[in-house]
């Protein structure tokens, strides 16, 4: 999207600088003047919310690492000391722990936005794939971060999740030893998780850079899913969308601050305030809320399929539930992007959202009775949506007529053509 640069270096110094490192030009083009569809709605603000939370996590995390001790004997108490003794430590630690939850809440909104408005479709496949990569890295980061306080849930989450890799035939056990650095989860595991927990957010930041690069090649999708046709369809990013994004960031900060100040532990599990005990599994282990849907899928496979054991089967479905996202651009073959113009797609999409919420609920329940059955149904629909329903409806559906342009969808036909006539 070059060629729309309005950067004119004023003065000799700026000019000299621009010829050597055109970073101001770059910033002006990409952070200020970038042409943005004028019809994007509030669902489009969550990318900015995510970038904001990533910065919060990195800043609070670096501060926590100044006081945290990655040692199995000391870690638990060091986090308690942060919360009790370090100046403002209670708020900084609370912000980091709650921040992880806010991060996932925002990323789920961001992903479902993409699924509804078909933002993964050509020419945005790489953009979407980079997004899924970020999601996977976020999960790894949050999982390893959750292990650091070395409470009961930390320890048993580490045990169960590393064990998932042991289900892989042949190479599973060597991988398990490599992840844990011992015969069981122990100090060695905690140390490497701390190292990687520190590293991964910076990798995420780098992939976010690529994600935005890939966004700025075709530009934003928008609620009607019709590409930008002329400059009438767009507004400059700044100040129109910087202000809108900032507004939503402030709105998001309200529940964020409420959690940090009034209920910093409500999103976590009380058992994580019991120091880790390798000989005693808590009666009911549950992951953090943001992993629950995938955990429900993992547990739903409690039966053998042909030569695949229930354990390996669970792992295949668990991994598959995330891997399938990479293929969505090719599973949904409809040329129409936006769900607004896809009458057949819409009910299945909303059912998918409900099903995802149901799986979240089920992941926190004990694996018994009706919950097991519902988890199986939910898992079946999750996969059916991507592998069967999307490919089929994109063939049989008759989409509603699309507006000729973004301007037309905003202003109506007459006005839009009038505008063109100007």
């Amino acid at each position: 999207m070059s060629g729309n640069s309005s950067y004119n270096p004023t003065g000799a110094v700026e000019k000299w600088f621009d010829e050597r490192l055109p970073i101001l030009r770059f910033s002006k083009e990409h952070l200020m003047d970038f042409p943005t569809p004028k019809n994007i709605n509030y669902w489009w603000t969550f990318g900015a919310v995510l970038a904001f939370i990533l910065v919060i996590q990195i800043v609070t995390g670096i501060v926590l690492a100044m006081h945290y001790v990655p040692n199995s004997e000391l870690a638990f108490n060091s986090v308690e000391a942060i919360r009790r003794d370090v100046n403002y430590g209670r708020i900084i630690q609370g912000t980091h722990a709650v921040g992880a939850s806010m991060f996932f809440a925002a990323v789920y909104i961001h992903i479902f936005r993409g699924l509804y408005y078909g933002s993964y479709k050509a020419p945005r496949e790489i953009l979407w794939i980079l997004g899924v990569v970020i999601f996977v890295l976020m999960m790894a980061t949050a999982f390893m971060g959750y292990v650091l306080p070395w409470g009961q849930m930390s320890f048993w989450a580490a045990t169960v999740i590393t064990n998932i890799f042991a289900a892989i035939p042949v190479i599973g056990d060597p991988i398990l030893a490599l992840l844990r650095g011992g015969f069981a989860v122990d100090n060695a595991t905690l140390n490497r998780f701390f190292s990687l927990h520190y590293l991964l957010p910076f990798i995420i930041a780098a992939v976010v850079g690529l994600h935005i690069w890939a966004l700025h090649v075709p530009g934003n999708n928008n609620p009607v899913g019709v590409e930008v046709k002329s400059s009438h369809d767009t507004l400059p990013f700044h100040p129109y969308f910087t202000m809108k994004d900032l507004f939503v960031i402030v709105v998001v900060l309200i529940p964020f601050a409420w959690f940090v100040f009034f209920a910093p532990d409500i999103l976590g599990h009380p058992d994580n305030y019991i120091p880790a005990d390798p000989l005693l599994t808590p009666p009911h282990i549950v992951p953090e809320w943001y992993f629950l849907p995938f955990y429900a899928i993992l547990r739903a496979i409690d039966f053998d399929m042909w030569f695949i054991s229930s354990k390996l089967g669970g792992v295949i479905f668990f991994g598959g539930s995330i891997l399938v996202l990479f293929f969505v651009p090719w599973l949904d073959r409809s040329k129409v992007r936006s769900g607004n113009f896809r009458p057949l797609f819409r009910p299945f999409f909303w059912l998918f959202v409900l099903n995802f919420l149901m799986l979240t609920y089920l992941g926190a329940q004990v694996a018994e009775g009706i919950y097991v059955l519902l988890s199986k149904v939910g898992t079946a629909y999750y996969f059916a949506y991507f592998l069967i329903i999307l490919p089929i409806i994109s063939r049989v559906e008759r989409p509603a007529p699309l507006p000729a342009s973004i301007s037309e969808s905003v202003l109506g036909k007459a006005e839009a053509s009038g505008e063109k006539g100007q």
Binding site: F183, D186, A188, T281, K311, L312
Partner: protein
């Protein structure tokens, strides 16, 4: 020279491939230590074996010790429990093993197993008298609901295998070495 150039492969091609191969081996050799450092280190590997005395454990009692950071379940089984374990038909088992295959001959009352669920690694309940023992009167893993019988064999739930037996050796009538 001219004939070599037309024949397709040249000395130069050979040198390219050879250089590339040596480079790849070099990179591999440099990367391997960076990966292998993550494997269990010498101090972990040194905790290879432990010995303990069974004498204080009464009939029907259990206790747990740690070996390589993992819980070891020791159970002094009653006659009735041994009989129950032996009576189970092989067709009922997901991971078939007779009771005798899981104990030392002549010491059938002592069941010694690694107390880690073969599903995803939780520690099953059943060592304490007050614990849930599952539907088969043995051990019950609360994480995803695996039931083990009184020989530690998987009977129900997602775990694929029986509780694993550590390498053990009776050094005397009551002294056992694990590892």
């Amino acid at each position: 020279m001219a004939s070599e150039a037309t024949s397709g492969t040249t000395r130069r091609d050979f040198l390219y491939v050879a250089t590339g191969a040596v480079g790849a081996v070099g990179v591999g050799a440099a990367v391997w230590p960076l990966i292998d450092q993550m494997n269990p280190d010498a101090s972990v590997r040194a905790l290879a074996s432990i010995e303990f005395d069974l004498a204080p454990v009464g009939v029907g009692e259990s206790f747990t010790i740690t070996w390589r950071g993992q819980p070891i379940f020791v159970r002094h089984r009653t006659e009735a429990e041994i009989a129950e374990a032996r009576a189970v038909p092989m067709e009922d088992l997901k991971d078939p093993a007779t009771d005798l295959e899981r104990v030392v001959e002549g010491k059938e009352q002592w069941l010694i197993m690694i107390g880690i669920c073969t599903h995803l690694g939780c520690v099953p309940l059943g060592q304490k008298p007050s614990d849930a023992k599952g539907d088969y009167n043995g051990w019950f893993c609360p994480c995803h609901g695996s039931h083990y019988d009184i020989a530690g064999r998987i009977r129900k739930g997602p775990a694929p295998l029986n509780l694993v037996l550590p390498p053990i050796e009776f050094l005397s009538d009551t002294i056992v070495k694990v590892g």
